[in-house]
Every structure is written in C-alpha cells, then in structure tokens.
C-alpha cells in the first residue's frame, strides 16, 4: 500500500510537469494543427538558462536561495519565449500553407538544431543542478518508512496547478484567450473580426514556451540534473500525454499529463515485482533453488519506466485516436 501511495505522489509530481509541457503542444496544435516537435528542446533551454543563472547567483552573492531560484525562472521564461517566437516566425510561418509533412520535418530539424546549439553553449556533460534549497522530506503515512513527500515535490505540484489555473483564466476569461479560440476555430472569420491572426499565433507559441521554461526548471530541480538531450524524451512523453488527453484540448492535456505521470510511476514501481520470475518458483525446482539465493530475478526493472508512456501512446492511437477528452477527428472541418 505504501508503494502505491508513494508512486502516486511521484507520479503526480512527474505528471504535473508533463501536463505543463503537454499544454504547449496542445495549444499550438489547436491553433494551427502543427505538432511542434521542438517544444521539448524549449523545455531543455529553460532548464539550462535557469541552471546558468542559479550557478552565477549562488556563488557567494549571499542572496536568499528562494530569490536565486526565482531569478532562474525569471531568466528562463523570457529566453524560452524568445526561442518560441523565433521558431514560429522563422521556421513555421513560411510553411503555414505548405503540405503538413513539411512543417513536421522542419520541427524535427529544429529540435536537432536546438540540441546542438545547447551542446555548444552548455557542453555535452550532464550539469548538476545546485541544491540551493535543502530537500525536506515529510512523512505522510502513520508508520515510519512509509510514503513521503518532499518540499520540492510539493512546490512542483503546487506550481503546476497555479500555472494551469492562470492559463485557463487567460484562455477562457480574457479577450486574448477568446481570440485564440476564435482563431483556432476559423482563421478567416477571425480575421474578419479584426483579429491579427499572425499575432495571435505568435502569442500562442510564446505562451507555450513560457510554460516550457517553468517545466524546465521543475525537471532540473526534481532530477537535480540538466543535459542538452533532456528535452527529447520529455517532449515525446508530453506529446503522448497530449494525445492521451485529446490533442488540441487544454483540459485533455492536463488530464493526460497527470495520468501519464501516474501510469509511469506505478509501472516503474510494480514492473519489477510483477515480472519477478521467482513468483513462478513453484513451477520449477531449478528456479526455486536459484531464488533461494537471491529472491530478485526480474525480467524488467524500473529502468523500463520510459516504455509505459509509449505503450499508452500506442494504446490510445489504436483504441481511441481522439484521446480521452478529444472530439472525433472527423468533426473538425
């Protein structure tokens, strides 16, 4: 039971990061039906910029740690926004009316370019995120040694929820948000309302990139490491989360992100036990003898964690391509 609760907490932490990244995918898809595969790299750049800022500021400046971390976020957001804006303006806008394969391939190319720019700037080594805020672990079950939650996890979950609430307010309660939804539904008519479509699309990329910056700092702080390739798998997982929830749907991205995080954590937590061949000791004496020495003879360990996201992606594409909250694809004109 404690494993279960612990994995739910871990999953929620990871899932709230996925949710924020997935929102970036889904917003862009919703408005111009483009999968921005370079989005994961924007997350990476956010983590890197925050890393550099934190390292620069924590070296004997005597600033309070919380302020240093906040400066990291504050530096990462505008840089990522600029990258997001540039991606759209330079690479995607000229291809707005090209066949859909062209922007898709461009996105993959941009992803590679951004990775290698980061490699030049930040080197190929994994960079240790400075632990400027001491990790505090809270016991949440009655028995000692049970499930725990750390202050970092609380900050990530709380920060994500606040970010998502802010985004929902922006999209559903402000004029810009209504205009974004109007452009997503019918660009031509939106233009007839006096909405500058290019500006709204740019802003969508910029907002998504701002979310990616926040997610980047979260991932860096959670795993304690930043690396120029960290955005790739993370991006693919967040994309899977967006598809799971129904791509183009904001609520879907949030739900999909949280669910994917939990599925992944539970999968990682139980896959070892479930595929432990010692469970089958009764079937073979040779196996029983082997297991008497070492009771762990697992086929798949928790290092297979990454597999679950993609199993979910495959299952969704086979059984419910529109995702949990998505409309049927044929309903979109």
């Amino acid at each position: 039971m404690d494993t279960f609760l612990q994995q739910i907490i871990n999953g929620l932490t990871l899932g709230s990061v996925y949710a924020i990244v997935a929102l970036g995918y889904t917003m862009v898809y919703g408005i111009i039906q483009l999968i921005n595969f370079a989005h994961g790299e924007v997350v990476m750049i956010g983590a890197m910029v925050a890393y550099s800022t934190i390292v620069a500021l924590s070296g004997g400046t005597g600033l309070p740690p919380a302020l240093v971390l906040a400066s990291g976020v504050a530096a990462a957001i505008p840089v990522c926004m600029a990258v997001g804006y540039a991606l759209e303006r330079v690479a995607y806008r000229p291809l707005r009316h090209a066949p859909r394969l062209a922007p898709l391939i461009t996105a993959i190319g941009l992803s590679i370019i951004l990775q290698h720019l980061a490699l030049i700037v930040w080197s190929r080594n994994p960079l240790p995120y400075p632990q400027i805020i001491a990790t505090v672990t809270y016991q949440i079950t009655a028995t000692a040694g049970g499930a725990t939650i750390t202050n970092v996890q609380i900050a990530i979950i709380g920060g994500s929820l606040a970010t998502m609430a802010l985004l929902l307010f922006l999209v559903y309660r402000t004029k810009l948000g209504i205009a974004m939804r109007a452009v997503a539904q019918n660009q031509q008519v939106a233009g007839l309302m006096g909405i500058d479509i290019n500006r709204v699309i740019s802003l969508t990329f910029v907002i998504g990139a701002g979310l990616a910056a926040i997610a980047g700092v979260m991932v860096g702080s959670y795993y304690g490491i930043a690396h120029y390739q960290m955005g790739f798998i993370l991006g693919l997982k967040a994309f899977s989360a967006a598809v799971l929830g129904g791509i183009g749907n904001l609520g879907g991205a949030m739900l999909g992100g949280l669910l994917l995080g939990i599925i992944e954590a539970l999968g990682a937590g139980y896959v070892g036990d479930l595929t432990n061949l010692c469970n089958l000791s009764g079937w073979s004496t040779a196996l029983a003898q082997r297991c008497a020495v070492d009771s762990n003879l697992t086929l798949f360990g928790s290092n297979y964690q990454d597999v679950f996201a993609f199993l979910v992606l495959i299952a969704v594409l086979v059984f419910r391509p529109s995702g949990l909250l998505g409309e049927r694809v044929s309903d979109r004109a």
Binding site: K175, I178, A179, R181, A182, Q185, N186, Q188, V189, A190, G191, L192, M193, G194, I195, D196, I197
Partner: protein, 236 residues
C-alpha cells in the same frame, strides 16, 4: 464610400470576376443580385481582402485599400457577414459578440451595444451562455449580424443572409437589415433572392458570369422585363 474599378478576381484558378465597376455611396443600401456562381461572393471576399486582387482597384472612404488584409479593413469600419454565417461554434454567444467588438476599446460602449443586439434579437439573450454551435440556422444568422454590428461598422457587407432560412426567419433578417440601414450604416447586400433584395434596396447591380449586366434604381430593376424573366421567375 466604396468604389470598385475594373475589379478582377480569380477563385480557384478560374476568373470569377471580370472587371466590374460598383459604387456604393454613404448611407445607401445597395444590392448585388445574380444566379449561383455569378461571382457575387467572390466580389465580397475580394473587397474584404480575403482573396487576392488580380487587377483593378478598391477604394474605400477615399483610400486605395486594394490588397489590404481583412483585419486592417475591419479596423477602418468595414464588416462582412460571410456566407454560411461563420459563427464560432465552440464559443458562447457572449464570446462571439465580444469578438465582434474585438477592435473596440470602449468597454461601456461595447456593453451598451451588446444590450442593443439583445434587444434586436431576444433569442440571443436567452441563450447567451450557450455555444453558438447549438443555435438553429436562423439564430446563427442573427448572431452573425449582431456580431457584425458590434464592430460599429460604417460599411456592412452581407453575403446571402437569407440562405437556408425558413420564410419567417428571412423576414426577420430583412427587417433587421432595414433597421441597421436606417441607423446610417451603408450596406452592400449580396442575395440570390433578387425580389426581396431589390425591394429593400435603393440601388441594385445584376451580375452574370463575373460581369455586371444591369445596374440602376432598385425599383426600376424590379420592373425590368429582363430581370423579371431571369431572376424573379416571371414570363417576360
């Protein structure tokens, strides 16, 4: 107000409008009638900057606006109610009206105009928090017109407002057109229902295969034997 000179437009590779001249004066209600495929909708789209102009000029309020994108023209007081209404189906009625007023910054004026639209179409007020996709065709047409009014246009372009509507609804839509025109909004109305359009308009143009074949006082056109035969379903 609006002067089209030798305007040529292509639609899908076909020359749909072949050098037409149309003038709409301040405060007028002018209609453009003609059969399906005559190039009426293409003309409106060309005026709004939704289609590239091949040749000729569009002068709006004394300024050459040929090739201006739609969103700029809207800011200069031009509004189009597109064919098939083009409401944002996933947005609520309130949000649709808010988008109509997108270019305006006077909150109090916008709020007052929302009430004006609701007074004109009480059905919309009842359903203001519903998404526009749940409305009937007639209600959507009302919403589209209400939304256009929200921008306080100086020139309103209407594309087939009666299309696909029940007769009672058509009547309501045309009553609204007349009411809006009385408030001083200049209107260019495109209609397949030539009789109705000519009855409410000051002047009319008849379009055939991309060319203007007849023009004049609406009342005169209504009694023109050629128009009667071709568009009003009467023997010459």
């Amino acid at each position: 107000m609006l002067v089209l000179s030798r305007l040529e437009l292509a639609y899908g590779g076909i020359q749909a409008v072949k050098g037409i001249d149309i003038v709409v004066d301040q405060g007028e209600l002018v209609c453009l009638v003609g059969a399906n495929g005559a190039g009426k909708t293409t003309t409106l789209k060309g005026i709004c900057g939704l289609l590239p102009v091949k040749a000729g000029t569009i002068v709006y309020r004394g300024e050459n606006v040929t090739g201006s994108p739609a969103f700029r023209l809207v800011r200069q007081g031009l509004a189009l109610v597109p064919e098939g209404r083009g409401v944002f189906g996933g947005l609520t009625i309130e949000e649709n009206l808010a988008m109509g007023a997108y270019i305006r910054t006077d909150r109090a004026g916008v709020a007052a105009d929302v009430e004006r639209v609701y007074a004109l179409f009480p059905r919309l007020k009842e359903r203001r928090r519903q998404t526009a996709g749940t409305l009937s065709g007639g209600e959507q047409q009302m919403l589209a017109m209400g939304r256009a009014i929200m921008s306080r246009p100086k020139l309103l372009l209407l594309d087939e407002p009666s299309m696909g509507l029940a007769p009672l609804m058509v009547q309501k839509v045309f009553e609204t057109i007349i009411a809006v025109a009385r408030e001083g909004v200049t209107i260019l109305l495109v209609e397949q229902n030539a009789r109705l359009a000519l009855e409410v308009s000051h002047r009319g143009y008849v379009m055939e295969s991309g060319e203007i074949t007849l023009a004049g006082e609406a009342r005169a056109l209504l009694h023109d034997p050629k128009v009667r035969a071709a568009y009003l379903g009467e023997a010459a």
